[in-house]
Each structure stands twice: as structure tokens, then as C-alpha cells.
Amino acid sequence: MSQPTRAVLAAACLAIAAVLLSISAAEAQAPKSGGTLRAALRAEVSTFDPHRGASGSDHMYLYPVFDTLVRFDEKLNPRPGLAESWETPDPKTLVLKLRRGVKFHDGTPFNAEAVRFNLARAQDKQVSSMSSELVSVQDVEVVNEYTVRLRLKAPDASLILAFTDRAGMMVSPTAVQKLGDQFGRTPVGAGEYRMARWQPGSEVRLERFADYYEPGRPYLDAIVFKIIPDADTRVSALRSGQVDFIMEVPAQDFAGLKGERSLRALEGPTLAYWRVFLNTAKAPLEKKPVREAMNLALDRQTLLKTIIFGLGEVVASPFPAGYWANNPALKPWPYDPARAKAKLAEAGLPNGFSMDMVLEPTPEHVRRAEAIQAQWGAVGIKVDLKPMDLAKGVQSFFRGKELAAANYRWTGRPDPDQSVRAMFHSTGFYNPGGLKVPRVEELMDQAKATYKLEDRRRLYQQVAEVVQQEAMDIGIYVASSLEAMSVTVQGYQQNFLGKPVFRGVWLQGK
């Protein structure tokens, strides 16, 4: 990047300015082809089979290999992908018009038949882990070579964005038939890159797919994902030039990385929502005043400032500002310990109460939980912290329903229906106490059956209002997505999912 441009970048503080700048930078410099991007990721891919897999850390590996029917932009709005357009002639029919001239890595043509094969596979419980995302699909009809018609059991507006995720990742039907169980280790998709080498525990190498349908794309010759679980090690690897890109930068290191001239550090909003999950079947959490007290006793601004150094946002609902389903009119809970105590007294607990809270056992999680513990302790809510590794914590809290609370992050889903249903529906997995507010369930069902974005938005805004009225949710904050990279990395754009997508990324010659 030229000197003046860099100076401008450094000066830019507002997000808008940054966006404008990246546009002008893009105009100033045409993308160059070639080079290998080395990106450090926290966790290893579990399988390259998008239908079988279920781990949230797989996506960074999957996106480059598998093109999706629908793409999302940085704010999670649906954009055309392998499906060039879609329409709903009636609420129970979805017609997808497919892109022409697309090939899978093995030369198999992508067409309506391939889509039917993929959706059938994604619905097959013997193979798929995500059949539940497609429950509303009755059958898939091949209209012609490049058109499919989905008949739905019930209207389902969440389908489109579900197609930006695993459900929309297209695998090569011939490869699946040929490889069987081995597909997950030698995947064949239609994405910009094909999997070249996977050294478990160490790195995954993707190489440019020469026959990609878009001329000139992709820009990079290869992407190498290095698996580096320790956050500080990732930072060291970037600073010593061993990798070009790291995700999940520790908040305390962000300012330092931003100050380095050879690096660029980016902060952007995400759906990563830190909250306290409650098991409302445990007394006294079934009482609304108790949950109100818990909300009023939290000084969220201070938590945001101290725990993640202000790199995030205090929110009134699980959604950040700028997200389409957000309710900007709703105010976050105020910090009012006196009122919290009054609420506790109203619930018949003037001396407070005790409860346990699960958390992950690493220092950053312990730190947050200790700060929450202290704030609740100040109004008489005594919290017993139970650090547990994730498998044990999820098992004991969500499935075993043994404990009262858990301090975890909701990672966010492509469609808001997935989030609100999981957390606020009485049957949701992440609502272990089965707290039921009929009005919320009506609203989310209605939203799911509404295709017009404007109408859906209004319904989710109402969901957020009722959730707050009923004190169903104890949110802490939404954490920003923090990524850092060498200044040679160009064209990278953050997204609301906080899962890096390397589409359009190119490397400037050194």
C-alpha cells in the first residue's frame, strides 16, 4: 500500500470512512493474482464434508472449497451465489434459478440434478448432521437443467439464509458416490479453491481451482491454514511473519497490533453474543423479578470496557447495531443496583440467593465470569463458579440440566430465526429450563412464515421487545470480530458471523 493511503487509513476512525476508503483503495489498485496466503486458525477442521460435519470451526475451511447456493454479504444479507436468483411464487414454493457453466473440481457439471442430490443428502439422517435445517422441505423438483423447485411443508423464510451455510454448500455428486466415507478427507466442491493437502494437527493447503467459473478468480495460488490453538502463539506467528493473517485476536493485544506499521488490525461487529444462559427450572430463576434484578445489577459498560477493552457493543437484544433484524429503538438494561435489590425483595429474596455458573476454564473466560460474579455479589446474588471444559459444560448444563447458569457465547447463526428459536423457544436446546412465553413463540413462528424482509424485521423487533419485558435474556455484550493481517493482504472483508471468508482476497507483491 502506498504511503499516503496508509496514512489515511491510520487516520480513519469511523467505520464509514473505512468503507469508503477501501472502495477508493480498490479503485486505486487492481487485484493482483498469485501468491500464497498463510492464515492461522484456532481449531482444526473436523471434516470437509459439509453435510456430515457439525463443528462451528469448520466454516473457514469449507467456504473456499464449497460454493454455496446463496452467499451472504458482510452484514448477512443474502446475495446470489450458485443460485443467481430465487422467488417464492407462493409461500410454500421456492424456485431457484441456477448459474450456468459451473463445474465441480472433478469436472462434474453443476446443475439442477446436482442440487437435488445435495439437498437429498443434506436431509438424509444417515449422512447429515443438519437435516433439521431443511425439515420444511417436502421435495425438490428438477424443472429444467438450471431450475429447481422446492415444495415446502410450511412457509420457511429462514431457508434462504440457511443456504448460505452448510445446507447450501454443494458437493460433487460423482465424487460422493465414488469416495463414500472418504469424501470428508478428500472433498470435491465447486468453490474457488480445492483441497490439496491436509496434515492433521498442523496445516491444510488449498490450491486455486483453475476452472472456476468467474474469469480471473480466484486471485491467490493457494491458501495455507495453519492450526495454532493458543491465541498468544497466533499473535507471535503474525508478528514474526510466519503467517499473514490471524483471527480471534485477543482483545488486550489488539491495540498493540494496530500500532504496528507492517500490520493491519480490523474490528467489526458480529453476532457473537456473550450472555448468561439460565436454567429457569431452577429456583428462583423462574421468577421474573429475579431475572430483572440480575439484569439491573450488571454494569455492562464497565464490563465491556474492562473485559474486552471496549471492542464490542452493549446491546438490548442478541443483535448488534447495523444488523437487519436489530431493534434500534430498544434500550439496553440500565445499571441500577438499588432497583436490583428492590426487585429481589419483591421476589421474596431480600437477602439474595446463591447459584452456580458454568464457564470455560481458560483465563479470559474466568476473568469475565469473576467480574460478573463480583457485580452480582454486590446485590446479594452469590455465584459459585464452575469451570468445565466445553464438552462437560454443555453436557451438564444444557443436556443434564444440573446447574443454574452458564456464561457462554452464542455464536450467531445466518438467519435470526435460528438464534431466537434456539434461545427463546420453550423447546430450544439453549433454553434448558424450557422458559415459555407464548407471545414470543407466536411472533417467531409468524416471522418464519414471512418472506418480506421489512415485515420480518418488524416481527423480530417485537420478539426483542417481549424478550426484554419478560427478562428472558441476560446479555453481557456483543464482541467485535478482531482480525489482524499483514499489510500485503488486500481485499479482505469482515462479516457479521465473525468467520473469515477469503473470497476476493489477494496479496500485494512485497
Binding site: 444417515q126 447429515s128 494437527g201 454443555v394
Partner: protein
């Protein structure tokens, strides 16, 4: 000696059974199964979990799983990872050399630095050299692994840029690069090895130097250097061999922290990840190999006793 070896090798079988059932019992004790570990906080549902459990073969009783696992192992098949489907033997083939190489390098470093240090220290008890060696040894024992590792990274890799901060390079790809990548982890792990060797040898050398047969040798007018080399060092080496053996095996099974800091895909991280992922076949396989490596090292150190001190019989 042949009989001794045969007996020790035969004893390995019940040992491995003991160890794998230990791992198995640990799995029993750990709540949360691989399906839960896989999904974590990523949009789980009972339906999804059930589908994954079915595919992983987790719906059979654990004892049945263990029995079928043992049966397969007897036929030389360690199974495949529940998470990635990678054959366990393949994972071990890739990862074991890294950990073993690291442990051997660190122990070698410990011997190369520790033995001369101890000899210098023991020759004049209470002298300046003794104080320096003891101080260094105490530091090596006392310094936390990850603290030393991250300090080394900070200074040697990030500030001076002499060595790479992290990562692993296979010696088959580039021998020089592999060595450079191994240097910092070796120093980090080797610090404690130096300390252990120095302390143990200094202490046992002190004893043998004070022993009657050494005094006799001295009285005969032998030069001090010869006394140390010919008479005192030999018996004093027994504890050193013990310590070296212990160090190798301890390092083999305890490289987790160093492997995390330096992003080395070794057995330590495989063990750790398998516990966190509840990846039963992978954990069994990794522990099995770790244990086998340790047994071999111990056997070698027992055999070395006999070479150093012929008075020891293999009873």
C-alpha cells in the same frame, strides 16, 4: 541378558492392558461425549446429537465399545478418529516423531550442558563454580515452562528475529529449517533437563568423591581429574542414567505446554485435544504409543545400569 529382555517385553502386554483400561475408565468418568464436544455451542439439538452419536457408534454401551476396540487392536487396527475419521495409526505416525525428537533433543541438551557443569561443581564443593552451577540448576528447575518459552519467543524471535517464533517444519522438507524451528522448544524443555542432570550428578559425585575407594585412589597419588573420570564418575552415573531416562519419558508425556506455545503438532497436543474432544479411539491410541515409548526408554536405562556398573545383575 536375553532372558531379562524377553521377560521385560512380555511384561509389556499386561502393562498396556492396564493403561488402556485406565484411559477407558477416565472416559467413563468424563461427562459429555464426542458428539457434544463436536457441536459445542454451535446450534445443537437433541436430534442432531442423536444423529451424530449414531454415526460415531456411540449408541452402543461403553463396555462393548471398549471390547470391540481391544479386539481390533489385537488385529493391529487402532481405529479411526471419531471427529475427523483419520486413522489413528496415521495420526500417530505423523505426530510421534515430533514429540520423541523434541524429548530426545532436550535430554541431550541436558546431558551436554549438565554433566560438565556437575563435574566442575563437584570438584570443589562450595566453590564459585559450585555456586554458579547450583544456581543455574535451581533456575532450570524453578522456571515455569511456558514462561521461559514465551520469554524466549519474545526476545529471540520477535525482537532479535534470529529464530522462528512458532511452527513445525518436517526435516524431510528442509533439514536446516526443521532445526531452526526445533531450537527454541528444545531450549525451553531442556532447561529443566539441565537442572535435573546437574543436581543429581553433583550430588552423587559428591558422595562417591567422599567414598573410601576414591580416597584410596587419591592417596595413591592419582591426579584429581583422573580420580573423577576413572573412579568417581562411573558409579555416580547410575542416578544420572535414571534421571536421563526419567527425563526422556517425562518429556515424551509432558510436551503439551511447549507444543501449544510453539504450535507443534506432536503427541502432547494430540492427547490434549483427544481429551477435550472425547475422541476415544484417538486418545487410546495416543496414550498407548506414549506409554510404549516410555517403556522402551526405561528398558534402555535399565540395560545401561549393567553397562556402567557390572556389579548389577539382571535378577
Amino acid at each position: 541378558m536375553g532372558r531379562f529382555l524377553r521377560r521385560r517385553l512380555l511384561a509389556v502386554v499386561p502393562l498396556l492392558l492396564l493403561v488402556t483400561s485406565m484411559v477407558f475408565s477416565l472416559i467413563l468418568l468424563l461427562p459429555g461425549d464426542p458428539a457434544v464436544a463436536l457441536i459445542g455451542m454451535e446450534d445443537a439439538s437433541e436430534e442432531k446429537l442423536a444423529a451424530i452419536r449414531e454415526r460415531m457408534g456411540l449408541n452402543r454401551p461403553l463396555v462393548v465399545q471398549y471390547a470391540s476396540w481391544l479386539g481390533r487392536v489385537a488385529r493391529g487396527n487402532l481405529g479411526a478418529s471419531l471427529r475427523t475419521g483419520q486413522p489413528v495409526t496415521e495420526a500417530i505416525r505423523e505426530r510421534a516423531p515430533i514429540t520423541l525428537g523434541l524429548a530426545l533433543a532436550a535430554t541431550a541438551f541436558g546431558l551436554v550442558v549438565g554433566v560438565p557443569l556437575a563435574v566442575l561443581a563437584a570438584r570443589r564443593r562450595g566453590g564459585l563454580m559450585d555456586a554458579a552451577a547450583s544456581g543455574l540448576a535451581a533456575f532450570g528447575v524453578a522456571v515455569p515452562n511456558f514462561w521461559l518459552g514465551s520469554m524466549l519467543v519474545l526476545v529471540l524471535a520477535l525482537h532479535l528475529r534470529w529464530l522462528p517464533a512458532t511452527g513445525y517444519v518436517s526435516p524431510f522438507d528442509s533439514a536446516g529449517d526443521a532445526l531452526r524451528h526445533l531450537l527454541l522448544p528444545t531450549l525451553t524443555l531442556g532447561a529443566s533437563a539441565v537442572a535435573e542432570v546437574t543436581r543429581q550428578l553433583r550430588s552423587s559425585l559428591g558422595e562417591t568423591l567422599a567414598a573410601d575407594f576414591v580416597k584410596t585412589a587419591r592417596a595413591k597419588g592419582l591426579a584429581e581429574g583422573r580420580v573423577v573420570a576413572k573412579h568417581a564418575l562411573r558409579p555416580a552415573l547410575i542416578p544420572v542414567v535414571t534421571v536421563a531416562g526419567l527425563t526422556v519419558s517425562r518429556l515424551v508425556s509432558n510436551t503439551v505446554v511447549v507444543e501449544s506455545i510453539f504450535a507443534l503438532p506432536g503427541l502432547g497436543r494430540l492427547n490434549l485435544e483427544s481429551v477435550l474432544n472425547r475422541d476415544f479411539p484417538m486418545l487410546q491410541g495416543a496414550v498407548l504409543v506414549t506409554v510404549l515409548a516410555v517403556i522402551v526408554v526405561n528398558l534402555l536405562s535399565d540395560l545401561l545400569y549393567g553397562l556402567i556398573d557390572p556389579r548389577i545383575r539382571y535378577g
